[in-house]
Amino acid sequence: MEVDNYRKIRLRLTTIFVVLITAPLAILVVMTTNSLRETAIEKIEVSLARLIEHKMDVVSLFLKEKEDLLHMMVGMYPISYLGRQENLDDLFIAVNKTGSIVDLHVIDSSGRQLAYTGPYASSLEGKNYYDAPWFQHVLIKGSHVSDVFLGFRNVPHFVVAVADPLKTYILRATINSEQFNKLLLSTQIGPHGDSFIVNRDGRLQTPSRAGITELSDEDRLLLAPHEGTAVFQRQEEIVPKTQELGQVDLPGATAIVKRQESVVATRWVKDGEWCIIVKALIEDSLDPFYALRNKIIMVIVITSAIFLTLALLFTNYLLRRIAEEDRQRAELGHQMMQMEKMATVGRLAAGIAHEINNPLQMITSQAGWIGELLPEEDRLQVRNIAEYEKAVEQIKHHVRRAGTITHRLLGFSRKISTEQQNVDINELMEETVSFIEREAQYNNVTIVRNYSPSLTTTMTDGPQLQQVFLNLINNAIDEIGPGGVIELTTAMEKEKSIRIDIADNGHGIKPENLKKIFDPFFTTKAPGKGTGLGLYISYDIVKKLGGTISVANRNSGGAVFTIVLPVIDHG
């Protein structure tokens, strides 16, 4: 397989693993963090509802306390007593221990001021309040609490006025609201939250924590019926969120509106005249959520990394296995192809040899016939008779040559005869060397023997194997030429096979020829010098004997042919 393909497989596997591992984890992260955020926001809503409830209590208590105080005074003292300036002065000193009361008015039912204790005595002398709206309100309802206004020295004030039970006079007190501002501001709603009170017209009754002086258009909508969640705190439980009310502006409930970045709670107090508004920025309350989210993300990233590493290691392992198997298959395929090629050529060669042998027979027969008849000719009349005789001999000689080749071709197409003997490879090799030692000496080639003394014998076809040795050694002599050295080495391999190396110190074999060297008719010898069948036949014989033959170039120069034969016991 191509390297490119491995890359493709690796990419595909890696992608699959990455998707399979990271996608579920990513979904888990998104889902977890979303629900965590939701929970955090719900928590804000709950705490806002609690907070606003507390504020409402503070405001109501404060107002009621002041109202009760005045009620108590008008109940205790008749107009005849409080209408006198010195009595009012005494009372003021007695009740104003905290300093929250700025002044006290006593006004009769016709609006005339009977007595006044406070810093504005001179400017209020003789003033008639009969036409003031609050005055009428008090006469009808018995009491009144005004909106907040900035009075003396820019300090916020509001007015509380009550009438005596018989409505004969009215006691009016101006109250410094700074104290209850402080109470309101002291609540925890995060660094960017806000809380303040507005009246029905949207005017701020207390300073805003965030410092705004006017209600924004968006916040102004909170004063009218609006979308949101109603929370009834008095029942000590929160109305489930599913009960989202389309329009929340209920007097007894806190209305909660969730915005993009903040949560706003509103609650009407003072009989629906004032509205407490508390805002909390969601971001402020998310710190614990972020901490948790980061922890989850970290765990998931580490987990992913571990899984991915394992997946990549696995991919690598898998690819190595595939590559190894591919290589083995390719090798096997190559061997099979080689064997098939050999078998085909063998059959082809046998067929051709047969077809050629018959005409060769006729040529040699006809030539022989001429040769037999020639002596009967008149030597004087046939002047070139000697030439003819010579030609006949030449024809017969060349037919014999051709016959040798066809016989050899037929020779390797035959099967191994069953006549196998117990062969000592060292002996066989030595016998082979004895045939060619003379030729080697003639060529000035040295033969070095490295025979293993511990070589076992094996059942094999000695003469055929000898033909292989002869072939290889002859090739080596031709290849190295004068001065060369041929090394013959035998050795046991793992007790199960015999290894025979026939090495020379010639020029070696060109890499491109290494694969073709056992192919039939492949030769590097000069035309006419080699048939290209020697190595082919050697290959064929060794294969049929159950062994392998291979060739390699030596690092020190030259080539080495290696035959590995199985050790077969007498069987």
């Binding site: 077809e355 042998n357 018959n358 027979q361 006729m362 027969s365 016939w369 016989h407 037929l410 005869s417």
Partner: protein, 142 residues
């Protein structure tokens, strides 16, 4: 050289005729047959010492012909000659009792030598049989 009768069996006419001519020139008596069937027919009706038999022929091949010759005339020696030197057919031929197995192309001299050897074997064989018969006739006078 002793004179003897040879039957040349080959599907190639040129080979048959030429071989016959050359063997006759050497003093042998030669008949020819172009197929196995024809050879068996000739063998039945005439005296033959050695058969030169081609292995590959149309009709019944050399091996089958050899088998029938051995059954019909066990004393006649057969020399196989073929262009197709498959060891298998050679071994089989020898097992069936062929005298030898030759491969084309072959010169006349070695061929003649082989035929003579075959004839010699046949002659010795025949002599032994005759002697045995004589011994039998002597020990069991009728």
């Amino acid at each position: 050289m002793r004179e003897f009768n040879v039957l040349v069996v080959d599907d190639e006419e040129e080979f048959r005729e030429l071989t016959a001519k050359r063997l006759e020139k050497r003093g042998l008596k030669v008949k020819t047959a172009e197929s196995g069937e024809k050879a068996l027919e000739i063998l039945e009706h005439s005296h033959t010492d050695v058969v030169l038999l081609d292995v590959k022929m149309p009709g019944i091949d050399g091996i089958e012909t050899l088998r029938r010759i051995r059954a019909m005339k066990p004393l006649v020696e057969v020399v196989l000659l073929t262009g197709h030197a498959s060891v298998d057919s050679g071994i089989e031929g020898m097992k069936l009792g062929a005298f030898d197995y030759l491969m084309k192309p072959i010169d006349l001299e070695p061929l003649l030598e082989k035929l003579s050897d075959a004839n010699e074997k046949k002659r010795l064989h025949q002599a032994k049989i005759e002697q045995a018969e004589i011994r039998r006739n002597m020990s069991m006078p009728s």
